[in-house]
Symmetry: C2
Subunit: 347 residues, 2 copies
């Protein structure tokens, strides 16, 4: 199965005109798309909320555009997800090609259940469609007072700094800490930019961000049609982290790794929940995390040069929800409208 | 308790003359130091082997110099380490100020035992002396066919890129994957250089590596006497990873975090073992990891610009062991000799 965007070269890399659209209307378009794919309203709402959150948090490559792209595959779902093995803290889920956010929610529930019983739950998911931002799932774990971690791999699309040969996937990581208020969450690719940026820029013809992608010879390029792989962040340290995530989403669950990840359906996902009351029943981890977050916020305010993970996204989301509308490129709105009318074949 | 090196400014930052010393002799000096601190020969040998491995793998700040520094505190040990709580996959160890590598070995054994029973073992250690490189412990886990992960924190000594206010510790991370041969291991600080480099350069007066440390105002400096904090790698992504490690070595076990880490004894350590046979009993994780490592080695050889984690260190160690001697700065050799004669008070 090919899930790459077509590489037709556009001659005019000018940003298309945007229109301001009420958030509720965008949500409605996505919900109706889900209904057309056979979901009930409640599930459709959860899928729509997931991608909307990515959009509102300032990650458009994981928001509406990703919904428009991924929803092509919604009719392929054979779900619901199924637990195919469970032993100790481990659970393995065959998602039967379920829509990504629904597969992830299923895994989150299983991880929480095991963590409550044994202190930790590790859930591996395979054979699923994809999702947008990971942090909505780790935050769902943290909302139960647990430390949540999520990661997934992709086909071999990431090269270490200076390299040309992709073996590892782009391997994003998210975690969320329970606090006395909203979870403190982080959501990061282990590449300097997600592959979604490459797909979208191939569509628009706009140049890629500099020094984030390489061509087949390993030369950095901003040409979305020449670029083939994303550069891993943080030199050898970032590469080591990506390697760890590759195995946590791979051999730990018997899932493919490296060149053996040859399709969406063979891509591994991992969801982890950890219960801090097991090791420290007399202490309040949420209070301790809140205290740490307060120290970090005070330091960030004093320095004025850095932010806590997640803070920018939450601020953007709050502003957008207050405003009630967001700017959407015209062609994207047209794609969403077509999907909502049951068109799952046009690009 | 203060465990920082004295900040006496040396006027002559010239590298002291080195002498080549047989490895066996260096090991003997360290073993005799351990005997003088009350260890039996077998335990002393393990401590010596640990720090020697760091030295031979090209991490002198975690090798002989760290042994010379840390061994000042060997007589403070009140060990042996003790399991003070165990529930589900979690174990909490009070190390009773045991010498670092021995505390870590105790934790590794406990982590493996739980992983064999439940799929995962998570061991938190507090009230311990410090060790050198983490990878000797994760490799010990991987030698049992398990995925090994280890991390620890430190006092608040790390600032995000562009920052001045340290809240997080330097938070090193190691992991080791079981393969059909030697474990594939990585060992990395989440700062661009370890604080050990700062302590040693304060001693020698040599300039620090550029762009790795900042002074109290957040200005990068190579002056070891002006520098106060280490810069976190990988911008916001590296900072997010450091934050995750802070909680895995902190609130997950009820251990201090941020400014509450105010001494060596209040510094948290985490050791994790994961058994891949729980989720995938019919597959061979070591074979899968070997296949991934082979793909990575082929890619690295084709590119010629990057290496696998751990490969450089292993090559250095093999070359040093073949040679049989290594170069040791004269003053360091004198310190090791004094320690081996039972001098735990001189610096």
């Amino acid at each position: 199965m090919s899930d790459t965007a077509p590489s037709t070269r556009r001659t005019s890399p000018v940003a298309p005109a945007s229109v301001r659209v009420p958030i509720a209307e965008l949500s409605d378009l996505m919900v109706r798309t889900c209904l057309a794919a056979g979901l009930n309203h409640r599930a459709g709402r959860r899928v729509a909320d997931h991608f909307l959150t990515g959009e509102l948090r300032g990650k458009p490559s994981h928001g509406l555009a990703k919904f428009a792209f991924e929803s092509r595959f919604f009719p392929l779902r054979q779900g619901p997800p199924e637990i195919v093995r469970q032993r100790g803290v481990f659970t393995v889920v065959d998602a039967h090609r379920e829509i990504g956010p629904l597969s992830a929610e299923f895994a989150v529930t299983a991880a929480i259940e095991r963590a409550r019983r044994l202190g930790v739950g590790l859930v591996g998911v395979i054979n699923t469609q994809r999702y947008g931002v990971l942090s909505t799932f780790t935050e769902a774990i943290a909302a139960h007072g647990l430390l949540g971690i999520a990661a997934n791999t992709s086909r071999a699309e990431a090269v270490p700094a200076g390299g040309a040969s992709a073996v590892l996937g782009v391997n994003p990581l998210s975690f969320a800490l329970p606090t006395l208020g909203e979870p403190l969450s982080a959501d990061m690719g282990t590449t300097l930019a997600p592959m979604g940026v490459l797909w979208e820029h191939r569509r628009s013809g706009n140049p890629l961000p500099e020094q984030c992608f390489v061509d087949a010879e390993g030369s950095p390029t901003s040409d979305p049609h020449a670029a083939s792989s994303a550069i891993v962040f943080g030199d050898h340290r970032g590469f080591a982290l990506s390697l760890l995530l590759q195995t946590l989403t791979g051999s730990l669950f018997g899932f493919p790794m490296g060149s053996d990840v040859d399709s969406t359906w063979g891509t591994g996902y991992a969801f982890i929940a950890l219960d801090p009351t097991f090791a420290a029943p007399d202490q309040d981890a949420a209070a301790a995390n809140t205290r740490l977050a307060e120290q970090l916020r005070a330091a960030a305010a004093a320095d004025g040069t850095w932010r806590l993970p997640g803070d920018r996204g939450r601020a953007l989301e709050a502003a957008a929800r207050t405003n009630g509308t967001i700017a959407v490129p015209g062609p994207l709105l047209a794609r969403l409208s077509a999907r909502s009318a049951g068109d799952f074949t046009s690009d």
